[in-house]
């Protein structure tokens, strides 16, 4: 199961790398969202996909699942959500101000 997860993470990260390297504003944003998903999935896998009882008081089992990574991923997802919302608005504003979403045309030139 771990191997499968790692492979999935690899695919997601490579897709996101491709998207980030494209010229369109929106695709770069989508690429970052994908990268965030890849990172979260990696976190889940890295902490170990253990079989075990939920770590609750009153449950008696020989092994428990580790709750920490899930709490951390939840935090990271929420942060990612906020950042993505900001990024979408920012790219829309950039598009409106520059009338283009081609990153080649958004290159910084010294005199302006």
């Amino acid at each position: 199961m771990e191997i499968l997860m790692i492979l999935t993470v690899g695919v997601i990260v490579s897709v996101s790398t491709y998207l980030i390297l494209t010229k369109s504003l929106l695709r770069v944003v989508l690429g970052l969202v994908m990268l965030a998903h890849g990172a979260h999935l990696l976190f889940l896998t890295m902490a170990g996909l253990k079989e075990g009882a939920p770590p609750l008081l009153g449950e008696y089992a020989s092994s428990y699942a580790d709750p920490l990574p899930q709490a951390l991923i939840l935090t990271a997802i929420v942060i990612g959500f906020g950042v993505t919302a900001f990024l979408l608005v920012l790219s829309y504003q950039t598009y409106k101000a520059h009338k283009t979403d081609d990153l080649d045309e958004l290159r910084g030139s010294a005199d302006e």
């Binding site: 965030a36 976190f43 920490l68 935090t75 950042v83 101000a97 520059h98 910084g108």
Partner: protein, 494 residues
């Protein structure tokens, strides 16, 4: 009494939230934020005093014991950084009162200013890796808003790049934390420091250490990850650029110093060498960029990069003298660089441009501005008795003692080039025949614009005069950093 280390995080957070409610009332916002930021300075100075007296302070949030709950740790290094951050923040705030466009003030400048401070102070004081990530995000999101505020075409274009590279760095942060957690099974700094010695596969740990170096290097603008900085700091108004330039990169540097003195101490031959190489490159490429530019604000922005190199150099040498020197140069740089930015802003207000070739002769029309800038500039370049001299002196001394002659050589050459670029600004802006007509010069007074920078110049001067007692404090801080067991014992209470 330990709870005092919560205040630098809580005060700006609560005040920021309250200020959102008074969006229209600028006068009230100014009054409250001025008072709050001044009180932060006093709280943090008192914190340094307490920690110097009683040793490291910790607060366990929600009463969860150390390795399990989130913990805030105030050691000397962290508290000194908090103090510096609040001093810089006050100066920028009082400059913003006078220069910021009312529209920007209405669109939540002050709340985001305080959220930025929350993130910065939180990053300095936290003792937990994931909590550091969270505070980084608080800081970055506020900096995104501040940097794009005003929405000029230039700002939108350049801040999009800044935002993308920052988020990319944050995702790497998550990945690095995931790998670190899988190897060690903990994220508490002290617990990590303890367990890192027990891990057998040190190769994996070295990879993780370098991943963290990349993450913090993006925030701290280390070469080759520095390219986003000059353009994105050029766009926003000077008060914001000074604030970000003074605080953001230093948080990256602080995190590198914290993790590499406390946690990743297993393979120092390799990691410290990489840090030294990066330090040399950062210094040199940064200063070359500054020499080549002809824009007041851009030169200052690129100088941030070169100064980051000096700080990292102190870490790379890794002796008591060098670490103390690194903390001293962080302090010196935050103070002096902010002062320079503020005088750049005052010059922009007078001449209406930051292009060096379009202005000259300001020394005749605005002599106070010229001489104050001159003092700050030679302090940055390292002329005694100002603070820059002692910063470089400690680093060079530490480097020579440790036998790292090449990096010392590079740092001295870079010091010379720094002096050159500062003199270049001074000659173009303040010498020559006045570019302003006498009527214009009379009309455009600087007067009160100079005030926020003056305390910074006085601090730089005092840091130079009182270098010896100051270094006693810094040696203490360096000792705390070089001996992780002090930190571990005070957090885990074993």
């Amino acid at each position: 009494m330990n709870d005092i280390i919560l205040l630098p995080v809580l005060i700006p957070f609560i005040v920021g939230v309250i200020l959102i409610l008074f969006k229209k009332n600028i006068q009230l916002q100014r009054f409250v934020s001025g008072l709050t930021s001044l009180s932060l300075v006093f709280v943090s100075i008192y914190m340094v005093y307490l920690i110097y007296q009683d040793g490291i302070m910790t607060v366990e949030l929600g009463n969860w014991q150390a390795p399990f709950g989130i913990i805030l740790v105030g050691d000397l290094f962290a508290s000194i950084m908090v103090t510096l951050a609040s001093i810089v923040a006050v100066a920028c705030l009082f400059f913003a009162f006078q220069t910021l466009h009312p529209d920007r003030e209405k669109y939540y400048f002050y709340p985001f200013y305080f959220f930025l401070l929350t993130g910065v102070n939180g990053s300095f004081l936290t003792g937990d890796m994931f909590n550091l990530f969270v505070f980084f995000e608080v800081m970055l999101l506020s900096s995104f808003v501040l940097i794009v505020m005003g929405r000029t075409k230039y700002q939108l274009r350049e801040s999009f790049k800044y935002v993308v590279i920052s988020i990319f760095g944050s995702m790497f942060f998550v990945i690095a934390i995931a790998l670190l957690y899988s190897v060690t099974g903990t994220l508490n700094f002290a617990h990590l420091a303890e367990r890192i010695g027990e891990v057998e596969q040190t190769g994996v740990l070295t990879v993780i250490a370098i991943l963290f170096l990349i993450v913090f290097g993006i925030k701290g603008a280390l070469v080759p990850l520095h390219f986003w900085l000059p353009n994105s700091y050029f766009g926003p108004p000077t008060a914001v650029a000074a604030l970000l330039g003074g605080l953001l990169t230093k948080v990256g540097v602080y995190s590198i110093m914290r993790t590499y003195t406390l946690i990743f101490t297993h393979n120092q031959d390799f990691t410290l060498n990489i840090i030294l190489i990066l330090a040399g490159l950062t210094m040199f490429i940064g200063v070359i960029g500054a020499v080549s530019k002809f824009d007041f604000k851009k030169i200052l922005a690129i100088h941030i990069i070169s100064q980051v190199g000096y700080m990292i150099m102190g870490l790379g040498i890794f002796t008591q003298m060098a670490i103390a020197g690194a903390i001293y140069i962080i302090a010196h740089n935050m103070i002096v660089k902010t002062a320079l930015f503020l005088y750049c802003g005052a010059t922009e207000k007078v001449t209406g441009t930051t292009d060096l070739k379009k202005m000259s002769g300001l020394l005749k029309t605005h002599p106070q501005l010229g001489w104050l800038f001159f003092i700050a500039a030679i302090s940055l370049a390292g002329i005694p008795p100002l603070s820059g001299f002692f910063a470089k002196f400690a680093l060079v001394l530490g480097g020579l003692d440790a036998g790292n002659y090449f990096i010392v050589f590079v740092s001295l050459v870079v010091g010379l080039l720094t002096l050159f670029s500062m003199v270049k600004i001074f000659m173009y802006v303040f010498w020559g025949s006045p570019s302003l007509t006498p009527e214009q010069a009379k009309e455009r007074k600087v007067g009160k614009l100079l005030l926020p920078g003056i305390p910074l110049i006085i601090i730089s001067f005092l840091m130079g005069i009182l270098a010896e007692p100051l270094f006693i404090l810094l040696f203490e801080a360096a000792d705390q950093m070089l001996d992780p067991s002090i930190y571990i014992n005070s957090v885990l209470k074993e």
